[in-house]
Symmetry: C2
Subunit: 339 residues, 2 copies
Amino acid sequence: MTKKSIRDVAMRAGVSVSTVSLVLNGKGRISEATRKKVRDAANTLGFILDHSASKLRSGQSTLFGVIVNDFSNPFFAELSAALETEAFANGYLTVLANSNDDLHRQGKLIEAMVGLGVGGFVICPAAGSSSETFELIRARSLPYVICVRDLQDENADFIGADDYQCGVFASKHLVDLGHKNIAMIGGFQELATTRHRIAGFREVIDSRGLSVQKELILPGPPTLEFGREMAIRLVQSGQKFTAVFCYNDIVAVGVCAGLRSSGKKIAEDISVIGVDNLPESEAAFPSLTTVEIYPRSIGRRSAEALIKALKNKSNRKEKVILPLQLIARASTAKVSAEE
Amino acid sequence: MTKKSIRDVAMRAGVSVSTVSLVLNGKGRISEATRKKVRDAANTLGFILDHSASKLRSGQSTLFGVIVNDFSNPFFAELSAALETEAFANGYLTVLANSNDDLHRQGKLIEAMVGLGVGGFVICPAAGSSSETFELIRARSLPYVICVRDLQDENADFIGADDYQCGVFASKHLVDLGHKNIAMIGGFQELATTRHRIAGFREVIDSRGLSVQKELILPGPPTLEFGREMAIRLVQSGQKFTAVFCYNDIVAVGVCAGLRSSGKKIAEDISVIGVDNLPESEAAFPSLTTVEIYPRSIGRRSAEALIKALKNKSNRKEKVILPLQLIARASTAKVSAEE
DNA sequence: CTGAAAGCGCTTACAG
DNA sequence: CTGAAAGCGCTTACAG
């Protein structure tokens, strides 16, 4: 059971190595009898094709390079898991790494993955990335798919959620409940994701003849802690607000904790809405209103796009904006009459 | 900026390819002047070493194969992220895949990763795995580290949490609060993790002169839904219980939801304890008592163990059982007087 | 329908 | 201290 080469298979099957290679790759016109001999020999020997050698000679790779911001974040964890599943189902393995939203680290990762010989990339660009960030990938003529955060890079496919719509859904829901003073908490301002959500939010507010209050827009890290701190600060500031649109469910959990510790009741006093629809969000108390953005779809579609690019070599780039869904639950309610 | 080979570097630096290779790998005794010439040439050309070629010739790989049950599970997401970070900090890239607790899939993944040329493995074995499951890895003389779920495999390092202690901590906490009728919900029975926790639980119960009630031990999938269902069923059954020791925080969230929907108050009526200490658990309402098992430490230590095995070629296998910590919060309370 | 031969980009004894 | 040459395990024109 030590390592076997294509030569060992050839000897056992009584054919040449070329024939073995051809059979293994389903190429050439080999008689069914020979094919069977080769496959049997390969099986009994426990032969496993050496990808390094194959890649070296053919240039073909069955490896995906995937870089996300941080896959311990549930959203990216789901996305990456779905991506990996789809990739493996199609014969690709996935090298997965975190950029930690660090441009330099992202650059090192790309370089290392290129050296490794990945066939292409799926990348959720680190904050601050631009099209030039991916020069090396283009120089090597490798296909790449950008996901989640749109960079308007014409050289890549893009798969992401409709963040503008996300802002629209969340704010419409709140405005329909009578809220006029709505805070937004979390999300890095340099990300298209954040900007698009804010744009959707503005659109709704404006269209209802209300006005967006700058002091209530609080961008920042998408963390529980940031949500908690901002919620506490907002209450202390005495500014009037009756609802909070959070960057994601984790931020929302923090906001709820902060509000509670400040003596506010969720829904009754302040409505809270998140984004992501984490499994826990439905079972939380009170259950969290949120926007489902289907990270698994984004992951799966990204894998599909890369597979397509790897096979077709067509340079038609596609841009997929996936729909999302508002999930209304108990953390949002009609604005209280007292105001 | 197209692909450059070691030959291009050699020509530009005016030396032979052997010298370039030696410099790049920090081997041989090359004069500082030559080293500089080579490094400069490599930099200006944007040279990236071809890992496939290097691996083919030397047999050395800078790739980790990592297989976990499901890295969209927050525990494994944290573990894998820490593993990847530690690996990359040491010059290794990580191929990460989910076994979905499916033995067959795990086997295919191992085969694919061996073919890819990983230098070694970190595996959290799919339910049902045994030492034989990893024959192929041993046949290729690749080092592997087993994490989280102990298989008593002497050919591998093991890094995991002290699950027995976990059972002890949780049950001691509950017993100290006066609970006598304690349910356990979630966790596959075939996993060492589950069995060890139950063993710790039994130990404490027995040592206090109480007795473990079989009907209250409900193993099963570690999911929110399972927690919810079992909680509801338990209340409906009319069996007496005042506390629930959940397999993890996700199950605990489900249990809390189930209890609430059955008219029970958390802590006041029924105490609930989880395991994992997810970020959300502290901010949940009520905040969740749990056992912190430091998944990041497990991930980091697993990477370290594999790096060591890759470098030293020593066959001294180590077994690391990491300590954990009880985090007492609001979801557990003294048993109510009424009983 | 099948085989012999070249070569992908490296590393590594071996000379010198 | 540095170079020429062999070879890792494949794939791919090219013959036949």
